[in-house]
């Protein structure tokens, strides 16, 4: 009886990594990921899926963390997330994950805003409202480091991103760390100064399409179709022609802003419109160094799990070299498919 019920549960709960022909990917609202909606709407994703004789369903999830959790639980085969969350949620949860597409890095989309003060050093002794343990928290730690302070010099208040703008308007709040579009909203309020942003740590907050490594290994067609679709979407968006304007207007509406607002979000995002640009970052030594900084920050905050003895507990494989434990590699930066796109082999 126990065996039977165990078997049934295994059937219910496990995700099989065998060859399949229908897949689900999820994304959440952010300037670097919203192009997936355009790809799905214009039939670009379907076109590439048909080419490799598979089905790909593109699903939008309203809550970013929830989308990552759903991916980690195996509900989705691929999901959009940042390098830090890829390390601390699926990889730390034992789900071997691969960065299939390196889409962009934040170049000013994440920032710290002070009320009434215009230098980051003034943050000392203040209360900082931010989403704890998020990229904003990481940015704060990096910013404090740059002016010789540590997290002990400030008090962090966990604040929901949905309420960040309303919260900032209250008199008690003097410092926030957040991301766009909230960031530009907050920074445009009277007497507010953007004292630090991600353009000062270029290439450290990377937006990725993360795919389950086993699924990718068993179904290379999925990797090819997704990569092919992505760079076709990028080609549509790039440039100033009519098609690009139409694409961006569509995406602006989806993001709840207008073309000018979307362009300004794009301006603080270093989009990789071509595989060559993405590969330049992926293949560099910098990715490994960034992942080391991120892993050390995450370990210090207990994000790698209490069982993790040190920051190198989870191995991160990059084309240049491996960071951390090479026997426990759970996050891989794989240039293979982006290289295929560059070589026109898709």
């Amino acid at each position: 009886m126990k065996r039977i019920s165990l078997f049934l549960l295994l059937l219910l709960l496990s995700t099989t990594a065998s060859a399949r022909d229908s897949f689900k990917i999820c994304w959440s609202i952010y300037v670097g990921w919203v192009p997936w909606a355009y790809g799905a709407d214009q039939g670009i994703v379907d076109k590439w899926a048909d080419k490799y004789d598979i089905d790909i369903e593109v699903v939008q999830i309203n809550d970013y963390i929830e989308s990552i959790n759903q991916y980690s639980m195996g509900e989705f085969d691929a999901c959009t997330m940042t390098n830090m969350d890829a390390l601390t949620i699926p990889a730390a949860g034992g789900v071997d994950s691969t960065a299939l597409i390196v889409g962009d890095f934040s170049n000013g989309n994440d920032g710290i805003v002070l009320k009434g003060k215009d230098s980051l050093a003034d943050i000392k002794g203040q209360t900082v409202n931010l989403v704890e343990l998020s990229v904003s928290h990481y940015l704060l730690a990096r910013g404090l480091e740059s002016v010789g302070l540590t997290e002990r010099d400030v008090e962090v208040v966990n604040t929901s991103d949905a309420d960040m703008v309303a919260v900032y308007a209250t008199p008690g709040v003097t410092a926030v760390a957040t991301w766009n579009p909230l960031l530009s909203e907050v920074a445009s309020m009277p007497d507010s100064h953007r004292v630090f942003d991600s353009s000062q740590i270029p290439g450290e907050v990377i937006d990725l399409l993360i795919i389950n490594t086993e699924t990718l290994a068993a179904n290379p067609a999925l990797g090819k179709a997704l990569t092919g679709a992505w760079y076709e979407i990028m080609a549509h968006m790039n440039g100033g022609d009519e098609r690009a304007t139409a694409a961006k207007t569509f995406l602006a509406e989806l993001s709840g802003t207008d073309l000018a607002g979307f362009e300004s979000q794009l301006a603080s995002t270093e989009m990789f419109y071509t595989p060559a640009e993405a590969l330049a970052l992926t293949n560099s030594e910098q990715v490994k160094e960034t992942m080391q900084t991120v892993a050390e920050f995450s370990h210090k905050h207990g994000l790698l799990g209490e069982g993790a003895p040190d920051a190198t507990f989870i191995g991160v494989e990059t084309p240049a070299s491996v960071y951390g434990d090479s026997n426990n590699i759970k996050l891989r930066f794989d240039p293979t498919y982006m290289q295929m796109a560059l070589d026109g082999e898709l």
């Binding site: 165990l6 295994l10 959790n69 208040v157 966990n158 919260v167 008690g172 799990g305």
Partner: protein, 272 residues
């Protein structure tokens, strides 16, 4: 053979039948957790009881590495303080509002329509307004709980006041009682046990508002911790916290019921 409808379990069997669903749930969880962990030992979704035990040990019995505090007890203390203050304020205001609108038709005429409208506003929907009015500190959290459950308590007490037989009021008046004497000596004592009932019923909503407020902006608290560790899917912390909140809610409810029986034994006579 007795008909099914006439078969009652013996006391022993009743206890066993009551425990059965709990045991089944725990067993189901154990199987599911074992199955998932066999496939991926670092899986976080369904931690084993050992992992949950380790998390409880870490949160409740060891000081935090970073701050040196016992996080679990800090969270519990601050959450219970917020809930207690919110409920106390709500029951005081609710009792006063309910009593006067129930007892005095002139007050009722001017206050009841407003009370009805206010009670229909979903408190969570005005959270951003609360933050602007009360700031981000403890005040806004207590205010959310108080605003959330006061209308319920007030309307309940109003209804209970109106249910008190008018014969009693007539009798008191023939004996020469004035309005304040009737309110203080006839109505108020009879409303106290009903207030306890209303508070017991509104505690569920109180917890809801407490956790919602803590999820939005906080530095400690049971709801804060759950929403914080959700970021890295630490179910080994979330599950014991949920169990703990459930236990706290159960204990508070039982305490209020006992209190009511001790203080107002007359109210519970006759099978009430």
């Amino acid at each position: 053979m007795k008909r099914l409808i006439n078969q009652t379990p013996t006391p022993m069997l009743r206890v066993l039948l009551g425990l059965l669903p709990f045991v089944l749930l725990v067993l189901l969880y154990m199987f599911a957790s074992e199955a998932r962990l066999a496939e991926n030992p670092s899986d976080k979704l369904l931690p084993s009881f050992t992992q949950i035990g380790d998390a409880i040990q870490r949160m409740a019995l060891e000081p935090s590495k970073r701050s040196g505090d016992y996080l679990f007890w800090e969270d519990t203390l601050s959450s219970l303080t917020r809930l207690g203050m919110g409920v106390l304020i709500a029951s005081a205001i609710g009792l006063a509002l309910g009593l006067f609108t129930g007892a005095l038709p002139l007050v009722s005429a001017s206050a009841s329509p407003l009370l009805t409208v206010v009670s229909l506003i979903p408190p969570l929907a005005i959270l951003p307004v609360l933050f602007i009015v009360f700031g981000l500190g403890e005040l806004s959290k207590v205010a959310l709980i108080a605003i959330g459950i006061t209308p319920f308590i007030a309307r309940d007490i109003q209804r209970r006041t109106q249910e008190i037989p008018s014969e009693q009021l007539v009798k008191a008046q023939t004996l020469g009682a004035n309005t304040s004497q009737i309110v203080c000596r006839v109505l108020l004592p009879q409303l106290m046990p009903r207030l306890v009932d209303a508070v017991r019923l509104s505690l569920g909503a109180g917890w809801l508002f407490l956790i919602a407020a803590e999820a939005i902006a906080a530095t400690e608290g049971l709801g804060y911790r759950i929403f914080l560790v959700r970021r890295y899917m630490a179910m080994d912390v979330i599950l014991p916290y949920v169990a703990w909140i459930t236990l706290l809610a159960f204990v508070i409810d039982a305490l209020l019921a006992t209190l009511s029986r001790r203080l107002f034994p007359w109210h519970h006579q006759g099978g009430q």
